[in-house]
Symmetry: C2
Amino acid sequence: MQPYWGHHFYLPNQQHPLSRAIGESLEQARESVAFLVGCDAFEVVFTGSGTEANNLAILGATQNESPGHILVSSVEHESVILTAESLVGRGWQVEQVPCDSLGQIDPESVAERLRGDTTLVCVQLANPVMGTVQAIRQIADVCHKRGVRLHCDATQAFGKIAVDAVTLGVDTMSISGHKFYGPRGSGALYLRGGLELSPVSYGESREMSLRPGAENVPAWVGMGVAAHLVSRCIDEVEMTFQELHERFVNGIYSSLGDAVVLGGRGVLGLPNTICVELPVLASKVQEIARELVVRSAEADRPPCEVTRVLAAAGRSPEQIARTMQISLGWTTSREQVDRAVEFLVAACDSARF
Amino acid sequence: MQPYWGHHFYLPNQQHPLSRAIGESLEQARESVAFLVGCDAFEVVFTGSGTEANNLAILGATQNESPGHILVSSVEHESVILTAESLVGRGWQVEQVPCDSLGQIDPESVAERLRGDTTLVCVQLANPVMGTVQAIRQIADVCHKRGVRLHCDATQAFGKIAVDAVTLGVDTMSISGHKFYGPRGSGALYLRGGLELSPVSYGESREMSLRPGAENVPAWVGMGVAAHLVSRCIDEVEMTFQELHERFVNGIYSSLGDAVVLGGRGVLGLPNTICVELPVLASKVQEIARELVVRSAEADRPPCEVTRVLAAAGRSPEQIARTMQISLGWTTSREQVDRAVEFLVAACDSARF
């Protein structure tokens, strides 16, 4: 990213040789993101974040439509749920599709709720709290059989599992750069070729007239490099995550017989995401095991995604208060996993007495 | 910005000591931007760009209002004009206030056009093409006498002249980081304390619930540092610009008697912006003087702000084709100015024959 902050400050499409070079760098970044997503470069709209991509997908798909019905899964991110709900004031009806105790959305539950005026269905690819990976292909089939558009917030999945927009069959899909070691302030929306989307912000025509404002070249180039890295190593990363995940869970279970690992596992789960219901309050464990940086209902700042997602999966407030979410990263080692388990078990033991 | 891309990747408001430190860095950046703007830190909403700030100010002020009347000056940026015009479909009436031959908006022209249902007036502080600085204080008085909100796109002014939101009396004001040597992807909206604004995008509550999504800490910290630098040296910068501006214009006039310098000068002009009508086609001059990076109607990529602004100031297409805009930067030297004049004069001479 460095050169693009300084000497290479030109924007693409200006009248200067350096400008053309910058345009080429940007298109190379777009191709890297497209390769990661499994689509063509012309189907990638750069944005400033995953949140912005979700807003664009939902507001853009409804902007010029007469008010109808929108289905969102009960475990979506705030930027999906609240964006959909913002349309209620304009006459739209927003309905939530419930999940099972593992956070899974049944494609049949989606099918049952589709109506003649359903315009959009939003189901995320993977949940950041429970790690649940949804059966997007089946949900896409259900939607397309009825001519309904499917938006998939895939921000949590990239860098953890292989993703292929075409195989998944989604219409729009959100990407967040900083979720896969790209820079903050970078995101993208996959927009299936030929699909229409209305702009929701206005200015100089950039990014297929869907994202006005000067191109954030450094951020998008940075995301492109991260996308390239992910594409190259995702199979290896996934295998390592799976091994470490198993190691973590086995460690927990062998010492804490009464702990419960929630959320999807194997093909239905993000291999880097561990969501565990402890025998004691998560807040107590966190007080003791300060070396661990974890997520929990208490540690979660408003608007409390942890609480909302776990409640949607049928956990009681008391269970939620005992639940903790731990993520593995690309650099996490076996030793770190073992140490984390040790800390966690010791903290649970000391919190129990 | 460097540490915030890597080790200091936490977001503010997470449960981690480093997170608190990052929160403090962000609030320090907000104070630097507030100092630059002449307001309190709580009146600064960080955004991803000036375009985003203009969209938020205009869409946010009208979102929950019944359709009425909006006045925009005829020399506004696309992100103001097109955002206002996007509301026409929802029943709003958008009227342009014309400017004089120097690009100046007469406060009386604004007053005459205010109606009972006028909700918002948008007048920029300084024009990027002609350099014209508007009489914002007088326009604000006219608006406030009638209880109408004034939005001011000040993106072009920061780093070139001293700006004080309170003295100007504006209600909202847009800031773009990369216009004053801050990073791309950084912007802010000044929102006068106590003023209401509706969110126009949705997600996790950040930035007074007006700008969802993970805080772009590196970009905003970078903009804060740039703001601090500008605040410290703006008087000196302004004086240097004025001297160089005069040197440039004198150089042009002494060699090209038939050139015309357009736009505001002195207190009514941005001292770094030179807009000059040449005796020959700008495109021809650009072909010859390749060392100069300039703006012109032909070099301007869609949507042609140069053409639009110059036409609003009454220039004919033939005059517009002969007009060129040159900007001075903080590092521009007298020698560079002299060389630029030399190139320009030589190119005009050779284009003439």
